[in-house]
């Protein structure tokens, strides 16, 4: 009786030990499995595919947790800036008609170098480096 009870206890202990070990192993095994998604990095980001923009257009893209703006100049060159207006933080847009970057909130204008042309913005837009890798247009933050 006592011996069988002890055996039952040992069996239970073994069972729960296995369960405990499984609970430890499961997260570790899941952790080790490589992730398929592209690693997100706030230092460089794929802003767009080529052939999306035509000359004299622009589009917004996600740069980490902040919006950026990618522009194809009328000459067909890519340029990228932070899309956060330096005045009160609205998101800027590209104005094809004026060939400038425009912030609608208080009518701030920036040229294609990100410099303030007119309106209230106190500083220029931060400029990013753009390069093309295969089908991707990659935007990179210049190092401080």
């Amino acid at each position: 009786m006592n011996a069988s009870r002890r055996k039952f206890l040992d069996g239970l202990l073994g069972l729960f030990s296995l369960a405990g070990l499984a609970a430890l192993a499961y997260p570790i095994l899941r952790y080790i499995t490589p992730i398929k998604k592209r690693e997100d990095s706030t230092l460089s980001v794929v802003a767009s595919k080529i052939n999306v923009l035509t000359p004299n257009t622009g589009k917004l893209f996600k740069f980490g947790s902040k919006p950026g703006i990618l522009i194809m100049t009328p000459e067909g060159k890519y340029r990228a800036f932070s899309a956060v207006c330096t005045h009160l933080g609205c998101i800027v847009q590209y104005s094809s008609k004026d060939q400038q970057i425009w912030c609608p909130c208080h009518n701030g204008w920036f040229d294609l170098n990100g410099h303030v042309v007119s309106g209230p913005p106190p500083r220029d837009l931060e400029r990013y480096t753009v390069f093309i890798k295969g089908q991707d247009i990659i935007v990179k933050k210049e190092k401080a």
Partner: protein, 416 residues
């Protein structure tokens, strides 16, 4: 021969050099030793832009800087003026500042239209034509001796100091009463959203007095131009306003933007301005009019959007506090904030459907952020559930182990 020319050249150069850099004129030498009012100008001038540009006492006051006695220095024969009166002082400033060839020497972009503008202003008309001696002259705003460039933080006309400079006269109710001006303008302005941006936000581009009234040609913007003045910064609002049923405001004898927003005490617009039964539209429109229905719809659209945004922000914050990274949701919320501002701008078209349509963009973004927040909160619950199961297994193991240990102790006691 060449040697002699060289020597002569060197000597003339030295002489000119000494002349230009003759550090102390007799003006400074004497006035520096005097007291108060008579010596102050020397130190003030030394810190001024005129000192840097080599413009000295005699350029404005005349007299002989090389003289050895007061009487010969202050001799009207050598062109001594003394303290110029208001009209004279404007002319003295204008002599140089209206002279393009002269000014371009210092700054190729220097403007030279100040005097011309001044003569069109009420200040200029009072001083130069009505000769009442009471209007502002150049020195009233820029200072007489301590003149600095406008963007120098010490300048009297630096954006954050310009209001006080105008207030020297314009806050004086007694003086202003003579011209039919209330004198409340400065205190009103200080309540405004623009003043808040300037003083609390240190936004040097926030409008102060001169941004709407002009600086040298200071006149009140005529009712007809008020919309263009505001439209300088609020361009989208102006565009929409001109597409609205209100576009004919001039013909109805109204004053554009001012009717709803006021002039000096322009407060941050709130949704309450459109509140049913209390909105600002009731100033002109009467109950039962279609316009009020538009107002009510715009109000419910905007406040609905605001509630939704606030609730979502709370949800995102909750997830963030519980340790979830919420960068993506915050980015979407920032975009939504832009659409939120846009839908507030949209009311200037006074078209309920247009406002609803604009707000729709913001709604879509907010819902996206809300979904992310819900997913993250669900993830938190999943994590905690995992922990509870895990904890339960381990606690059971501990209990079983304790029983085992007790049995072992008993066994050991029984054995020997």
């Amino acid at each position: 021969m060449r040697k002699i020319i060289t020597i002569i050249l060197v000597f003339t150069a030295l002489a000119v050099y000494q002349n230009v850099h003759a550090e102390e004129t007799s003006c400074q030498a004497c006035h520096a030793k005097l007291n108060g009012r008579l010596s102050e100008p020397v130190t003030q001038w030394k810190n001024s832009v005129h000192h840097q540009a080599g413009i000295s006492c005699t350029n404005c006051h005349g007299g002989d800087p090389a003289a050895r006695s007061e009487s010969s220095a202050h001799n009207e024969k050598t062109g001594w003026i003394g303290k110029p009166g208001p009209i004279k002082s404007v002319r003295i400033c204008g002599n140089c500042h209206g002279n393009e060839l002269f000014m371009k020497k210092f700054d190729p972009n220097a403007r030279t239209d100040q005097l011309k503008n001044y003569l069109t202003s009420n200040h200029g008309i009072n001083i130069m034509f009505k000769k009442d001696g009471k209007g502002a002259t150049c020195v009233s705003c820029h200072g007489a001796h301590d003149v600095l460039k406008a963007m120098n933080p010490q300048s009297h006309v630096y954006p954050t100091r310009v209001v006080e400079t105008c207030a020297k006269c314009h806050a004086d109710k007694k003086l202003m009463a003579k011209y039919g001006i209330s004198g409340n303008e400065v205190s009103e302005y200080k309540k405004s959203v623009h003043a808040k941006a300037l003083y609390e936000g240190h936004d040097l581009f926030a409008p102060t007095c001169n941004d709407c009234h002009g600086n040298h040609g200071a006149v009140p913007p005529k009712a007809a131009s008020i919309e263009d003045v505001c439209g300088l910064c609020h361009a989208l609002d102006q565009k929409l306003f001109n597409e609205s049923p209100h576009k004919a405001w001039k013909e109805s004898g109204l004053r554009g933007c001012m009717e709803c927003h006021g002039n000096h005490a322009i407060l941050k617009p709130t949704d309450a301005m459109l509140a049913p039964g209390k909105g600002i539209c009731l100033k002109c429109h009467e109950t039962g009019e279609k316009a009020l229905k538009t107002m009510n719809t715009m109000y419910s659209t905007l406040t609905g959007l605001k509630r939704k945004m606030e609730n979502t922000k709370k949800l995102v914050d909750t997830a963030s506090e519980k340790g979830m990274p919420m960068d993506d949701a915050l980015l979407i919320l920032q975009e939504a904030r832009n659409s939120y501002i846009k839908s507030h701008t949209a009311i200037h078209k006074f078209n309920a459907a247009y406002v609803q349509q604009t707000a729709q963009g913001a709604f879509k973004e907010v819902i996206k952020a809300q979904k992310i927040a819900h997913a993250r909160i669900a993830e938190i619950k999943k994590r905690r559930a995992f922990f509870y199961w895990f904890g339960a297994v381990i606690i059971l193991l501990i209990l079983l182990l304790s029983i085992k240990i007790r049995i072992m102790v008993k066994k050991k006691k029984r054995l020997p």
